[in-house]
Symmetry: C2
Subunit: 481 residues, 2 copies
């Protein structure tokens, strides 16, 4: 017989080797695995259940604001990609090409969608006739492919899952309003559901989406001090409307081009959750998206075994009405092994119950985020658990927000900027003249990019850290994933 | 100004031109549209919302039986497809090939998944070690591509959406049990949620899945008398386990190959819903999956306009707690136009309210399936509506079942078989000797295929309609989509 007790999974130390820790957490918590095709991943059930919860919450926010889902085709004719000049330049180097079907060469190669502005633009030009057809507010959940040179599970994979919204409006103002509305939905989704605080801002011209007039993003700070672009919302202006001839007859009987937006978040956010909340013991999932919110681990030793098992059954039944609960009653693993296993998998609350608890009419609740243990009476257990889930959700957010606050520093000149980068990571809030040449030089010289120009801040006098010219725009810099 | 009143959409007569009627319903009810890539479709919001409801109901049935969702990659190395001999023979002629990424030729061409047994088999061989890891019960919702020569919206498209389950078991019996369990889930999903009665049975050797030991299917009868294979459940035996070396260490310390199943239903089912329930007025959706279950159409003429609008708001609010309701208060369209529009789109119940109803403290409910009108008091409206939704759901099922009953005929010899085919369509229940040669000849000579060998029927003596040999197996024949 093989050993009844598997060893607890070993993961690298987060403090000593963050990159290896990240991969270990993903593989050993069984969130994902490497696929046999270079740069692709398999999302395993634990990771996919997390994604499903994220989808459900974001989808509800999008539907509550009038957006509807649809599905557009995976394949895009090559000629479509070429219709918008910046767009093809941005995406052509990284697209996968279908050139053959069965044993026949295709007359025109097809692109596996890297994003769907073009094919959706083509359909919109068919569907939209009159001002009465506007706005069009459509989203799709889909897989997309971008052939990346260097890949990393969840953060940058050749195929990933995402949602992409594509809207059409009557006026430039409405499109801008939509772009910002979505940015705010992303901000709230990240902060309220994923417990990830973000900085919302505008991308620079250099960093904007290929084909957009203006790109907004929400930027999050990972616990190694590097930034993650967590979601983008693009004001496309009339660029695609002109390339794809998307027009409508307005009330004044004139034919006009629509104004468009597009926006998306992807499975990359799972990487964000891992890197913001995880710790030396593994994953720590925000309760609102955790596939299992409470895991019951009974202490099954001795004569009370059957009584404890019965209690587990009834607790599970009760809690299943208020949260996502599972009981781990496997007897081939020790409670200690299970504690480690479920901590690694990030379950927000562990509920322990043994013979002594049974006698005392209580259970022990253990928070994943702080490790804090509380004995809780069996009466009113439901509200104790749901309250604690709320506390964990808030606790994770506050810890992450504190980390951002502590790791956002000012720099007024290039020396202190470079010193700050050397001595630690995080956001650096510094003045920039607005010139792409300075931006490029800073990236070249330091590896740091402008994450965004944060929204809603008053201008503040300063001098561009690179060229020294007057600059009243302060921007967030960081090393980024 | 353009005309304020769009003309009601014209659709072909179902009785006179079923094929055109089918396409008209799809395009004009805005379920789907043709994509710019040959054989591909765009699923529009009304169609996609229907699919989302179908997904949610089937997904819940699968999760309730212990299945978990995951996501496997879109691309499959060519070499994988070649590992299972029958499988590659079945799928190679219709796969799309990715041969280039960016500007580089790939070292090994990739197949865009037509189904995922091979790539999932590869992962299972990595993941499964011990009998404790079994069973593995994984499902995925995904897009797949099969380059079809002739295509038809929803029924046969180059890309379609589906779920594909892939399970591994310790014994042959367990795999067979799973195969049948899923078949029963499909049967209940079809009959209870989609109101489509089905015949569950085994496919012949000729018609089974490429690589399976045995394929089961649920077969439905469309209202033009042709059959639709609505879902399949395959017992894969150890075919893929041997090709992909999926083994586990059993309790007896021996290394054994797992036993597998796979099964799927697709967006093709939307075609089934249209063809089973639709009528001359368009689509008729089963309430359980209808995106809009109740549409409120107010009569807004005269002095009571504002009072009627206020009543619509409060009715909508009340009903939104018990069903999916929308109010169509557009004033640029007449009530009559809206009646037609929402009938075309298949909404199960129309709720009319006008000044006279308001005075009488009532509304009028109109069933989409029968056209029956009932005046219902405002008090207790919620339960009147939910009861009526149940009635419509049952009514659609019963009508469809009656149609199957009336269109299933016996044939004891080839002459009467051929006569029956000529004179009408539908299922023909006839004896067959079990020989593939007879099966092929019948298809060749009549265009009719064996849909399945229905399950759970006692054997009955007869003579094969083609060769005249003794045959105690009666099977269902039909022309099929």
């Amino acid at each position: 017989m093989e050993s009844q007790e598997k060893f607890v999974q070993h993961i690298a130390s987060k403090a000593e080797d963050f990159s290896q820790w990240y991969i270990d957490v993903i593989l050993k918590a069984e969130l994902a695995d490497y696929a046999p095709v270079r740069g692709c991943m398999v999302i395993r059930p634990h990771g996919y259940a997390l994604w499903e919860n994220m989808q459900a919450l974001l989808d509800a926010r999008l539907k509550a604001t009038g957006h509807k889902n649809a599905y557009f085709p995976l394949f895009i004719p090559e000629s479509f990609l070429r219709k918008e000049a910046e767009h093809v330049e941005g995406f052509a180097p990284e697209v996968a090409w279908v050139t053959k079907a069965g044993s026949e060469e295709l007359p025109e190669p097809l692109v596996v969608r890297p994003t769907s502005e073009t094919v959706i633009g083509h359909m919109y030009s068919k569907w939209i006739k009159s001002w009465r057809d506007l706005p069009v507010l459509i989203n799709q959940w889909a897989n997309v492919v971008r052939w990346e040179k260097t890949t990393r599970l969840f953060l940058r994979t050749s195929e990933f899952l995402w949602q992409e919204g594509h809207t059409c409006h009557r006026t430039a103002d409405e499109a801008e309003e939509e772009t910002l509305k979505i940015l705010d939905i992303y901000r709230r989704f990240l902060s309220e559901d994923l417990a990830i605080p973000v900085v919302a801002g505008v991308k620079t011209e250099r960093e904007k989406f290929a084909g957009a007039v203006r790109t907004y993003s929400v930027e999050a700070l990972m616990s190694d001090g590097r930034a993650l672009q967590a979601g983008t919302s693009h004001n496309l202006g009339q660029n695609f409307a002109k390339s794809f001839d998307i027009t409508y007859l307005d009330e004044d009987n004139e034919l006009k081009h629509v104004w468009q937006t597009s926006w998306g978040v992807s499975t990359r956010l799972i990487g964000g959750i891992i890197m913001v909340h995880g710790d030396e013991r593994g994953l720590a999932l925000p309760p609102r998206v955790a596939p299992i919110q409470v895991v019951i681990v009974p202490i099954l030793a001795g004569a009370a075994r059957d009584a404890v098992l019965a209690a587990v059954g009834s607790i599970r039944e009760r809690l299943s009405k208020v949260c996502r609960v599972e009981a781990d009653c496997r007897e081939e693993y020790s409670p200690g092994w299970k504690f480690n296993e479920w901590e690694l998998k990030g379950v927000p609350i562990r509920l322990e119950i043994g013979p002594r608890d049974l006698k005392a009419g209580q259970v022990v609740l253990v928070r994943r985020d702080t490790g804090e243990k509380t004995a809780v009476p069996m009466d009113g257990l439901e509200s104790a658990v749901t309250d604690l889930l709320d506390d964990v959700q808030k606790g994770l957010y506050q810890r992450a927000q504190r980390f951002v606050d502590e790791n956002t520093r000012f720099a007024e000149d290039y020396d202190s900027f470079k010193e700050t980068i050397e001595s630690h990571r995080g956001f650096i809030d510094a003045p920039w003249c607005g010139d792409s040449a300075c931006e490029a030089a800073i990236k070249e010289e330091t590896g740091v990019t402008i994450r965004c120009l944060p929204l809603g801040r008053p201008s503040k006098p300063g001098k561009c850290i690179r060229c020294g010219k007057d600059a009243d725009t302060w921007v967030y810099f960081a090393r980024a994933y």
